[in-house]
Symmetry: D2
Subunit: 349 residues, 4 copies
Amino acid sequence: MSRIPVTILGATGTVGQRFVRRLARHPSFEIAHLTASERKAGMRYADACDWRLEGESWAGLGDRVLELCDPGRAFSPIVFSALDCEVALSVEPAFARAGSLVFSNASAFRMEEDIPLIVPELNADHLELLAFQRRKRGWTGGIVCNPNCTTVVLLGALGPLHRAFGAQAVFAVSMQALSGAGYPGVSSIDATANVVPFIRGEEDKVETEARKILGLLGPEGIAEAGIEISASCNRVPVLEGHTIAASMRLTGSPSPADLVAALEAFVPDTAGLGLYSAPGLFLQVRREADRPQPRRDVEEDGGMRIQVGRVRSCPILGSKLVVLGHNTERGAAGASVLNAELALSRGMV
Amino acid sequence: MSRIPVTILGATGTVGQRFVRRLARHPSFEIAHLTASERKAGMRYADACDWRLEGESWAGLGDRVLELCDPGRAFSPIVFSALDCEVALSVEPAFARAGSLVFSNASAFRMEEDIPLIVPELNADHLELLAFQRRKRGWTGGIVCNPNCTTVVLLGALGPLHRAFGAQAVFAVSMQALSGAGYPGVSSIDATANVVPFIRGEEDKVETEARKILGLLGPEGIAEAGIEISASCNRVPVLEGHTIAASMRLTGSPSPADLVAALEAFVPDTAGLGLYSAPGLFLQVRREADRPQPRRDVEEDGGMRIQVGRVRSCPILGSKLVVLGHNTERGAAGASVLNAELALSRGMV
Amino acid sequence: MSRIPVTILGATGTVGQRFVRRLARHPSFEIAHLTASERKAGMRYADACDWRLEGESWAGLGDRVLELCDPGRAFSPIVFSALDCEVALSVEPAFARAGSLVFSNASAFRMEEDIPLIVPELNADHLELLAFQRRKRGWTGGIVCNPNCTTVVLLGALGPLHRAFGAQAVFAVSMQALSGAGYPGVSSIDATANVVPFIRGEEDKVETEARKILGLLGPEGIAEAGIEISASCNRVPVLEGHTIAASMRLTGSPSPADLVAALEAFVPDTAGLGLYSAPGLFLQVRREADRPQPRRDVEEDGGMRIQVGRVRSCPILGSKLVVLGHNTERGAAGASVLNAELALSRGMV
Amino acid sequence: MSRIPVTILGATGTVGQRFVRRLARHPSFEIAHLTASERKAGMRYADACDWRLEGESWAGLGDRVLELCDPGRAFSPIVFSALDCEVALSVEPAFARAGSLVFSNASAFRMEEDIPLIVPELNADHLELLAFQRRKRGWTGGIVCNPNCTTVVLLGALGPLHRAFGAQAVFAVSMQALSGAGYPGVSSIDATANVVPFIRGEEDKVETEARKILGLLGPEGIAEAGIEISASCNRVPVLEGHTIAASMRLTGSPSPADLVAALEAFVPDTAGLGLYSAPGLFLQVRREADRPQPRRDVEEDGGMRIQVGRVRSCPILGSKLVVLGHNTERGAAGASVLNAELALSRGMV
């Protein structure tokens, strides 16, 4: 079977590089175009891009010539977008209009009512919004978003628990990795031996995106889940992996043992689909007193596994736990690719 | 006026060293004895102790000979204890029985009903428990404790707000400095570029100590404050300074502006006493979006100032903020010394 | 073909864990015994050992019961030793006497004239010392050492250049990873945002071991290479990988281009042997201006590849470069295992 | 006596901020103008500048309005320049022409034959070049430079030893702090748990500047010192303080004890001048096995003290040691201010 040509928008940044690495040897997709800003278009990928990842530099594509972010030049049926929010606002619709299905890591369209915001294991059915989106916008393609990197980590625990018990309120205090800010991102002068207790826009994203993802898809679109969420986002000197200390009020006041059982019994929407980028294990509950830890645990299953630990009682909301996930794989590049694989498995490509 | 002789128990550890540095030139106290474990007793302080602080090594006391932790050898009317909990259990009562007033940083006796657990700015009146303690235990001296380092940082914000509004429930997620574990403490293999989401015993200490300190002293002793507290404690790669992301339910649902006004209007119990180690400013509310930060801010006022930032609304509990304090000064050595100054100013020494 | 039973001495430490991970699925060796100190002997491996590595915990051997470091209990024809120097002094000879061939990472016997100190790519022929050793000591087994972790990294560049040109003098300033000190090793209080310009015993090891390894084996034993070596060893806050800034005086004053050519043309003694743990590439010369870097590059080829960069002229000694290697693989566990594979391929086991 | 008005060029950067903090309460100088780039000129200092230092924000000058880097707007008899090299190339001469004496931290003019490159303790007499400079360039003011931050740290040890013995050759491998790259400078993604073995242009600066500074001023200008210098410069995750591992060939092969004696007997050129920013002790020889360490030691004497440790024999060049200095004080802001104080004390202002 021949592979589907794909375009990577913004291929030189850190998320873009992760797209390239994930897609360079993908069984269903084939990189047809790498795009970059006007300043870099026309350059060899190896010349334009300081490769920041482990493994083969430029994933063997160093000789590819970068193209403009323009569907007239770089059209593919499937597009992965690692663009900044502002650029995404104009470029992603241009591709969608031209017929591409855009899998976007940008925040630009996530909260639009007709844009699916997908975590494949949790709300695969929300992909159905695409039909509505196409009607509404007159596009032949479309845009499918993955959530913010902190949102998806929180949802790794919250989603299964909400499904099992119904969640009413959630506190989430994040300790976020430096890579979440891109490259060069956070200055080493700010990061070294320090905590920065603020990440612009992040708390709002977590609070709103989670409700949409856990919402129910009905004939009127998505009815957001009625969960109160309070997020506090902090930057800590960690390279990869967002750690979240969370407390939750769940219906029926389940015990910690109930939570562990529910988390371990959770069956993701993707079960049995054989999606290539899906982790062997979506959700792991750790028993050690002091795990998960980002530096030690975050790379499990190519960064696509969510890990929960310290499940215990909370004197205020009832349940308390720690959840860890990989912010630039599970929360960015891997998320978009998994969304595309889901769409493909549903025959939407 | 002549200075009061004091003994420092456990002078070679990191808190012990801070005691030595704070007391070497103190206007009211004069270091009479430095003690250490049997293994080190008899050695010169400079030989037994790897000095880990800035400033003059051994605070100029490198030639002092270390003594045993025994009131028969190292008695002083005032004693500062940097002992580990287990050792404190036997040594501190021995000194109290011998007539010393022991200001202890250990957790051994903090939650005993007759032991004052003091943050001078917040519950100076709890010192009155001493009379009860002496009657009950038949001691001529006594033990006065300061709280756990995380508790005192949280209380820096919670205490004034509880006094202004009445607190009902508090979430506290700490990001704690490495120095809180002493020396050598946390292995660099665990700490580097990592978060360890667990500190043994810490969450329980925060939850129980805070209620005692904010309790009311009555004829029956202290009636603990009826505040629900949920703590989650994490170790992050920071050298000094515990940062806490906190949310609170306060009576009357005050606005963030109300909170800031109350925090800035707070008058500590120590106002006007001229205590030598009291900070110029007990509590600072910062307006910058991304402060306080431990590495940049924690040393203000010799580490004795508490700093609050990001005062904002919480969708669940009503109020949300960040609070920072110095764990080994405000939360350890400086705390004990300030307690002693308070006792002295009240004529209890 | 059946696999040879092996014993791992000191299986719970960080090097011991790396031995376990490397040998758990080795094609030629089969772990028969895991040993530990008296305090831990009798415990399950999983209970006695805090697993610190990525990948499957305890490499699947968590249920193995730890044994004493005693050939009467834990004999195997091949033994890997991750013991501390002092313990190694008595335990390793006991196994050698009992007939085991001990591949040791300890420094205890490295400089003994009859003990082969091996980097398989550089001085495979020194294994012949074993015959001399057995005669001299009356052992049926023997001891084979790998060098100190800093020595082997330096030799990765120096060895090939010495063979190509003859080295006369070498400056080596190391920036060494925290893992080199074991676990818990360096306190995070010392390591964080700091350089410690001293590592006990390290400079002497580098200066003496390198001369032995590059020496010529003759009928009288090894004639040490007549190279002046000056080492300065520093600890920096890096997790894995020793980086060395080196300058060398080579015979004939070769140009930087000559050096690069010689490094890339180097044929290791192990070429064609198909040793299982040998790296795909023993020695890589990097062209980027700012590589190799430990965090980014050290894991290449399972940590067994040496990487050289910044080959340039030195105004004093003629040649200057940077060399990087993995201190706990290429410099410890991987080194011993590769030595054993070499001995096996030579029919010495 | 009234204070001399001064202008700070580039007041918003990290070195500029250190100038402001040093000069805000200086006994001889009074800040008359703060300048910035066109984009920031006209703004309040507090609005244009994210204050990155400890102590009072903006040193109390937050309300000052930033001016253009133009002598027509911001003339003072004394000017401190924290400009980038390229901007300095045109701006510094403009001020010198207008009559200002410019004390520059930029590298733009350091190696010009008529520009004094000064470390006050070592070559105060080189200030005499100013007369030659004025004649040659027709300026009424002038430019006085301080060296690169790594050069000055090396010279703190090398200068006194050269004076005592005569230096012939010097190896210097630096482990440099992040702050040396300015703000935002090094990305935290590059810096965290890593070594970057390259700093653009740095090695060349160290090798050339040191020879000029240690040169002899004669009627023909400066005859550079005939010392071979080989520098290797590395970035390590340290906040402030460059640590250098150095080896030296000194005439007469002095012993380590001779070196220590010479270092401790060194009398700086500034002795007795009472310069306000001069350290209490210019040069300290440390006896501890593992000091100096940047995080623990670098702030001594306001960052103006040089610290030497580990003085020992070198098998190749004869002498080996470690030297530490503060790169943004002794190597930048403090250096320029001390140069100005020296010029003032010599009646050259």
